[in-house]
């Protein structure tokens, strides 16, 4: 297990480097000067502008600029926001926990829905329950998160008036009240992302269990006289979960996409809504940094998925 984890960690480095090269290429291919806002200001005379360009090295060859940018990023110097005049890293660190909380809860909700429903449907293939579950799964992943979010607001906030539709980071309450308020405001965003992910995951779980349940060792386990519940939980599900972990990892980019949309709908102060607002405000350093953080998060969660994969299926750690 140790060398395996180490190998995975080493793969992390070229991935993150690749992402940084890609982002920097996109940025430098972009027409116009991303720092035009400062450079075209009529109050800045041309000589000062040229001096500024030279000082920031904007006229250097692209490889030099890339290396300088990379070193700065590694040193933790992520620049500062044009709009809010705050260091980009403090801005992101303020908002990251909210995003991680919403995304994490949504992923847990998705697994809590998908695994029991998928397993139950697969043990009774083509039954009424299976057909209803698969129809709902289809409906679930055909409903785009932005529409589900609006529907939830319409039903639960406007019609029934049960849940608040604006997410607040600063709830003025303590103790139990704080937790209750937090749950109430997180319920809709988490449900929107969780159900969207859970729907497609249910189908994967079902087919993964169907693949495993026909194998001989399952028949053997039944023949030994084990209870059906033990056969399913101990023999089938553990093996069926191996491909599911891969699929959870493959869904991660989608998870972050869903997070951006729901953060925008419910006004959650996370990095997704930070990305949108800085795009609308032409705040290039923040846009670059947030995109980079999203990409790194996907890579890191992929690493976690790989490690879980190695734990579920010890064979692959000896490859």
């Amino acid at each position: 297990m140790g060398p395996y984890v180490l190998r995975r960690l080493l793969i992390l480095i070229p991935s993150i480097l690749g992402i940084s090269v890609l982002l920097f290429t996109v940025l430098s291919l972009a027409p116009g000067d991303p720092f035009e806002e400062l450079a075209t200001n009529p109050n800045v005379p041309p000589a000062v502008r040229a001096a500024l360009r030279a000082k920031f090295g904007l006229d250097d060859p692209i490889a030099v600029r890339y290396l300088r940018w990379l070193l700065a990023m590694l040193k933790g110097d992520w620049g500062f926001s044009f709009v809010s005049r705050v260091d980009v890293d403090t801005l992101i660190l303020q908002r990251l926990p909210t995003t991680l909380f919403v995304i994490g809860s949504a992923q847990i909700l998705a697994l809590l829905v998908a695994i029991p429903v998928g397993v139950y449907a697969a043990t009774r293939p083509y039954s009424v329950f299976d057909q209803i579950a698969s129809t709902f799964a289809f409906i679930g992943f055909s409903l785009p998160p932005f529409f589900t979010g609006l529907l939830f607001i319409l039903v639960f906030s406007i019609q029934l008036d049960w849940l608040p539709f604006v997410y607040r980071a600063d709830i003025a309450a303590t103790g139990w009240r704080w937790y209750v308020e937090h749950l109430r405001q997180a319920a809709m965003p988490v449900a929107v992302i969780g159900l969207f992910l859970g729907a497609s995951l249910t189908r994967y779980v079902r087919s993964a269990v169907l693949d495993v349940i026909r194998l001989d060792y399952v028949t053997t386990a039944r023949a030994k006289g084990l209870a059906e519940r033990v056969v399913i939980t101990k023999h089938v599900v553990r093996n069926a979960l191996i491909p599911v972990v891969t699929l959870v990892a493959l869904q991660l980019p989608g998870l972050f996409g869903g997070a951006i949309v729901t953060e925008q709908i419910f006004r959650i102060p996370g990095i997704g809504s930070l990305l949108i607002s800085s795009i609308l405000a032409n705040d290039t350093p923040v846009v670059m940094a947030v995109t980079f953080v999203f990409a790194c998060l996907v890579v890191i969660f992929n690493l976690i998925a790989d490690i879980v994969y190695g734990w579920l299926d010890p064979r692959i750690t000896f490859r």
Binding site: S15, G18, I19, L22, L23, V26, L27, L29, A30, P31, G32, P34, T135, F138, I139, F141, S142, L143, P144, P145, F146, F147, L150, L151, I153, L154, I158, L250, L252, P253, G254, F256, G257, I260, V261, Q264, I265, L275, I276, I279, L280, V287, M288, V290, T291, F294, A295, L297, V298, V299, N302
Partner: protein, 313 residues
């Protein structure tokens, strides 16, 4: 042997003739399987009806999409405005018919980009036995692990103004969205095509073609690619749905089409602040996106059953 005459121009006819005589040609067999999937059939019917409505209805429904009428602001559905009106009194039915054309053409065009790029990369990776194949697969895996939406937003943010200046407002945004969505959705197709190529290129009929002196291009185009297309078609169908969702998402975030080009996502974006007083404004475009995507997904599911001959039903 029939295989050796295939190079002649009459090969098509020879291939078709027995197909008509026998009751179970691959095409008819696929149709028979597809028909069994009732939901897929229903999805297909809904899609065709929607496409017809989008193409034909503007001939009958002659209200302009930007007809401003302040006496009819935020009206619910009525006979003069079957889908109601928005905050400027613009007719929602006309706007949605227009938006449908945008959404469906973005979906189809982005799918074509994704399929062409994916097939080319997958085919090269599947045919090469050296470093090129593994390099391309590394690239595919790398792209697969990129966060799609943030990257889309970044590219649109950086290139929007330049393309708008080059191709005009509508064309620029359309080209940008299609190319970017297509350019970030090719990876599943590439993996599918590569996997198919790896097994097909070792099959006897390809070996026979190789032995008869067929060039590499000919082996790929005439012998391997047609046999690898089944899963690609299924993936392409799903890609249309994904592209429609992505386009709507971008427009919904206010970063896709501008307000004078009412794609379905854009109508939703405009409607979301009036949810409490005019829910119909958001419900119609949302339901349209949902229905389209659901139908496409069902059709894709039906095609998967129909085009995979290995699966015994």
């Amino acid at each position: 042997m029939a295989g050796s005459t295939l190079a002649s121009p009459s090969a098509e006819i020879i291939a078709l003739a027995p197909a008509r005589a026998r009751p179970f040609s691959p095409g008819r067999e696929a149709w028979r399987r597809f028909r069994r999937h009732r939901l897929a059939l229903a999805g297909g019917v809904i899609l065709i009806a929607m496409a017809l409505a989008i193409v034909l209805a503007p001939l009958f429904w002659k209200v302009a999409i930007n007809d401003i009428d302040f006496t009819a602001r935020l009206n619910g559905p009525s006979w003069s405005h079957p889908f109601g009106t928005d905050d400027l009194g613009q007719d929602l039915l006309a706007r949605m018919l227009y938006g449908g054309r945008i959404s469906l053409s973005v979906g189809l065009a982005a799918m074509s980009v994704a399929i062409v790029v994916g097939t080319i990369i997958g085919a090269i990776a599947g045919m090469s036995r050296g470093w090129l194949g593994s390099a391309l697969m590394w690239l595919t895996d790398f792209f697969l692990s990129l966060p799609l939406l943030p990257l889309l937003l970044l590219v649109i943010y950086l290139f929007r103004d330049a393309l708008r200046a080059m191709f005009g407002l509508e064309g620029g945004v359309f080209i940008l969205i299609v190319v970017v969505i297509g350019g970030l959705r090719w990876m599943p197709v590439a993996r599918l095509v590569r996997a198919q190529f790896l097994s097909l290129r070792e099959k006897e009929f390809v070996e026979a073609a190789r032995a008869l002196g067929a060039t590499r291009t000919r082996q790929v185009v005439r012998h391997i690619l047609p046999n690898a297309l089944g899963p690609v078609i299924v993936a392409g169908t799903i890609d249309v749905a994904a592209a429609i969702i992505l386009e709507s998402t971008l427009s919904f975030l206010g970063l896709g089409f501008p307000p004078d080009i009412p794609s379905w996502g854009r109508i939703l974006y405009d409607a979301k602040d009036y949810l409490d007083i005019a829910p119909h404004w958001a419900l119609f475009p949302g339901a349209a996106i949902f229905l389209t995507v659901l139908s496409i997904n069902f059709v894709g599911d039906g095609l998967r059953d129909a085009l995979d001959p290995r699966r015994v039903m």
